[in-house]
């Protein structure tokens, strides 16, 4: 039966609250990446059920012993490392897009398009979705979904915080993640989020007004304003509104960028 993909941190312990992104240099040793990429190639062809350590070793051009040396936990550990690595790669490319954008609307559009494009174009993921859906879906339901949302929004929120408070940025990042996931899991014939024009339409119609409204309600009702970490900032820096870019440039953004 297919292995349940479990996420482990660098030390090989499982059970952290969210997906761990590899950060130490240990994770970029050439053998490790070679084995991971070889595993991805196997998964794209045969899925988890038929990807053995032997298959992986052969594909990577290394010995079984090498695979076990780098991943003492064997196949399960390799598969978990594959998830971590692919998530890190996705977030890395997402970070580039988000960092490039000068305006909030551009950031949202390019971020959503980037994530959607990479998800759809991912060969191993496509194979698993088609032939072993339970393996993928296990990461997307209920509590697992909460974990995924937390990880993705924690990563992308700082990029959005250029235009809004950290708390608002967290909520918007989570919302954008939900949008990507919803359309990735259940595509719509009329809304293709790998297409920049269609995504811009969605962002401008539904997301930007929501962001402005969230901001207004936060100011008006102080439901969720928390003090900023910087004690010298006594006042919300965006009190005159968010400059979301595009055609809605009617209000000056005090303290905002662009």
């Amino acid at each position: 039966m297919g292995a349940k993909l479990r996420v482990v941190d660098g030390a090989g312990q499982s059970g952290s609250d969210d997906v761990c992104l590899p950060t130490s240099s240990v994770h970029t040793s050439p053998h490790r990446l070679r084995v991971i990429d070889a595993t991805l190639a196997c998964l794209a062809r045969y899925g988890t059920a038929k990807t053995t350590v032997d298959d992986i070793a052969r594909q990577a051009g290394v010995s079984r012993a090498t695979v076990y040396r780098v991943f003492p936990g064997g196949r399960d550990e390799v598969l978990a490392a594959v998830v971590d690595t692919e998530m890190a790669r996705l977030f890395s490319s997402l970070g580039v897009r988000l960092g490039e954008a000068d305006r909030l609307d551009d950031a949202l559009v390019s971020g959503i398009v980037e994530a959607s494009t990479r998800i759809r174009g991912h060969a191993a993921l496509a194979y698993l979705v088609a032939h072993e859906p339970e393996v993928v879906l296990g990461h997307l339901a209920f509590d697992e979904s909460d974990r995924l949302l937390a990880t993705a929004s924690r990563f992308t929120a700082p990029f959005l915080a250029r235009w809004m408070s950290p708390l608002e940025a967290g909520r918007v990042a989570e919302w954008a993640t939900r949008i990507v996931l919803s359309y990735a899991i259940a595509p719509s014939a009329t809304m293709d989020l790998t297409d920049a024009v269609q995504t811009r339409h969605l962002v401008e119609t539904f997301v930007l007004p929501g962001i402005r409204a969230l901001h207004s309600t936060a100011l008006a009702t102080a439901i969720d304003i928390t003090p900023f970490a910087d004690p010298t900032i006594a006042v919300h820096p965006f009190e005159h509104g968010i400059d979301t870019g595009g055609s809605d440039r009617t209000r000056p953004a005090k303290g905002g960028t662009s």
């Binding site: 349940k4 859906p133 339970e134 393996v135 879906l137 296990g138 997307l140 339901a141 209920f142 509590d143 979904s145 909460d146 949302l149 937390a150 929004s153 967290g170 909520r171 989570e174 919302w175 939900r178 949008i179 996931l181 919803s182 359309y183 899991i185 259940a186 719509s188 009329t190 809304m191 969605l202 119609t205 539904f206 997301v207 930007l208 007004p209 929501g210 962001i211 402005r212 409204a213 969230l214 207004s216 309600t217 008006a220 009702t221 439901i223 969720d224």
Partner: protein, 192 residues
Amino acid sequence: MDDTRQRIIEATYACVARRGLAKTTIEDAAKEATLSRATVYRTFPGGRDELISAVVSWATLEFFAKLYEHVQGAESLEQVMEWGLVFAHRSILEHEILQRVMQTEPEKLLPALTVESVRLRQGIAAFLVPYLAARVARGVDLNEAADFLARMVLSYMSAPGRWDLDDPAQVAQLVRAELLAGVVGDVEGGLR
């Protein structure tokens, strides 16, 4: 034939409630329904997989029926969405069988549930259309808005994320500010 089908489905559901998904066989379902195995296989030629899909389908319809009943008295689009979100969120949390299967054997349930979630989304969208029709802002496509809102309702109700759906103020903010701001011309309560 419909009666037999329904009887088998409800019997299977009872078995799952008692012993879990993995341990529920065609035999168990037949015994619980006091029917022969042959009858069960005739009704569900696709075997256990088809039977499980049918059970998930039925359970989803039941859930939606309860949701529908709960929002009956809502007087506005905002209320429909707020009441619906809160009720759906609670129902999922308190659904013993769903929670147990998700803890112990999610991989058996999830493919069927994913199929059902498409149907659920379409049901929610269709339900929202009449409430939306009177309120949708100029330039916003009614069906596109209904589909988007339905997707979001499904997403938030099954994974609340950073939102505390037991806090009415947060639910109001989520619905009236985040979700409806782009959709309706004039959000009830003046929150834009």
